[in-house]
Subunit: 278 residues, 2 copies
């Protein structure tokens, strides 16, 4: 999917919501406990319920890996289901991979060729050759960690460079521009919990899409994210995971997820209107 | 496995060699092409051939994930095989994971509870809460990326802190000490291609084990690694992947792998003797 296609989907759906599929076998509603494919059944019902209100899905790989073979299969089923039934929805592998060149190539092949994701989250610590193999796929994106939503972000990401005065997350944004990254093949993770940094970030990467976790359970504000982060292609994919998929642990979990997603979609539509994007 | 047990195994084997199981379906010898479990068969033969000369195995997760369900199964078989037949060999999941706290917990559960690895490689970019969930397991280790062996290491890892003058990899070493990390639950990745940095690194973490990739295919020198990195518990696990497992692409691949491993083991025994550790 290209950046323009993504923007058109955002306009059509009046939403820039990404639903995070952090599907945890121990948090799945009681009513699914006897289902041999519980992870996939849960995902399918959540997807069918929320698809009208979002433009993207983001399975978090950790949750599938922790369930072993069964989890890996649930992930494959989920990806195929979205590809078949909702081909316009953007598909993010939240994997935070990153390794030496020949290994990153293997990861790129897994997520882009075997599983048909549109993007994969990548950690920048190992530098250029850990990231560039993901950039070689036409119509695919890298989503590089810049400023994450968690408390540990303060440990290293704000370290200031002795030479340039730049903070590490800014250096990641700037340096990655030299790797052949453009707004058409690179997005960045910027946590909603640090929304006040978005103005600084937009000075370095005015046009790239930002994947913004941390609205909801982690405490970030959608208003602030939009005020500082929105651009003329929207430029934002705001993720909510727990707040949607675990909105309700009863057998009505799918309806409750739809409700939670619709609530966010309505707020997003207002922001899109305020920015005259719809 | 405890640090002392690992050291005892190093003394017994007269080796601190780790064999990297970067098993790539497209590089597996012709003679295995018709084997339905080719990845596992290859691994099993490599393991049986090299076990007398090494103390650790390190499957690189990327290679298994890229083969989908079949790859994940080959990984599970490989781990079980090592656990059953070579219980004293240290088992490293080369996964380079790292995510917000609740997600890192899932990864820790996968690698330590589901799969019984002794350690998993973790990326430091997201800071404390992305790493500490892995530290909570008795008798297990985190192996944190500090200074990696690839060219991209120069992009961010050498950035100097404006306040302390420390380079990022040094800050990772120092900061992680405050997370409840000790030589008994934390190791660090330090690439052999930057062996001249080992003296600086040993000033900050004199006692921790270092996992050292980059000897062989990537050009690092074993002599230099030992000169600057060895301590009174050896403190080194030196990895070789391609140089051993792809030493030969004929049907004699296992014998050739054994030969390549034995050659390294003999050099290592000399270093251990020179340091009076055996």
């Amino acid at each position: 999917m290209t950046r323009n296609e993504l923007f058109e989907n955002i306009r059509k759906q009046q939403s820039f919501l990404c639903v995070g599929l952090d599907t945890d076998l121990r948090k799945i509603p009681e009513c699914l406990r006897d289902d041999a494919n519980a992870m996939f059944t849960f995902n399918r019902n959540i997807i069918d319920a929320t698809a009208p209100y979002c433009v993207a899905y983001k399975p978090n790989l950790a949750f599938y890996e922790s369930a072993g073979l069964q989890g890996w299969q649930a992930l494959e089923f989920t990806v195929s289901y979205i590809r078949e039934h909702y081909p316009d929805h953007f598909l993010i592998a939240d994997a935070k991979r990153g390794d030496i060149g020949n290994t990153s190539k293997m990861y790129a092949r897994t997520f882009f060729e075997e599983m048909c994701f549109d993007t994969v989250t990548v950690a920048p610590y190992m530098g250029a050759d850990s990231v560039t193999p993901f950039l070689e796929y036409e119509g695919k994106f890298v989503t590089l960690l810049a400023l994450t939503s968690n408390k540990g972000a303060f440990d290293f990401q704000f370290m200031e460079d002795k030479v340039t005065g730049m903070r590490l997350f800014e250096k990641v944004l700037e340096t990655s521009q030299a790797w052949g990254a453009t707004p058409d093949n690179m997005m960045y993770v910027v946590g909603a919990t640090k929304a006040e940094m978005l103005a600084d970030i937009r000075r370095i990467v005015p046009d790239n899409f930002l994947l913004v976790p941390g609205v909801g359970a982690q405490g970030g504000s959608l208003d602030e994210v939009c005020r500082y982060g929105m651009n003329d292609h929207c430029g934002l994919l705001v993720n909510s995971s727990r707040g949607i998929i675990y909105a309700d642990s009863s057998e009505h979990y799918a309806e409750s997820a739809a409700q939670a997603a619709e609530e966010l979609q309505k707020q997003m539509a207002e922001h899109l209107r305020a920015f005259r994007l719809i």
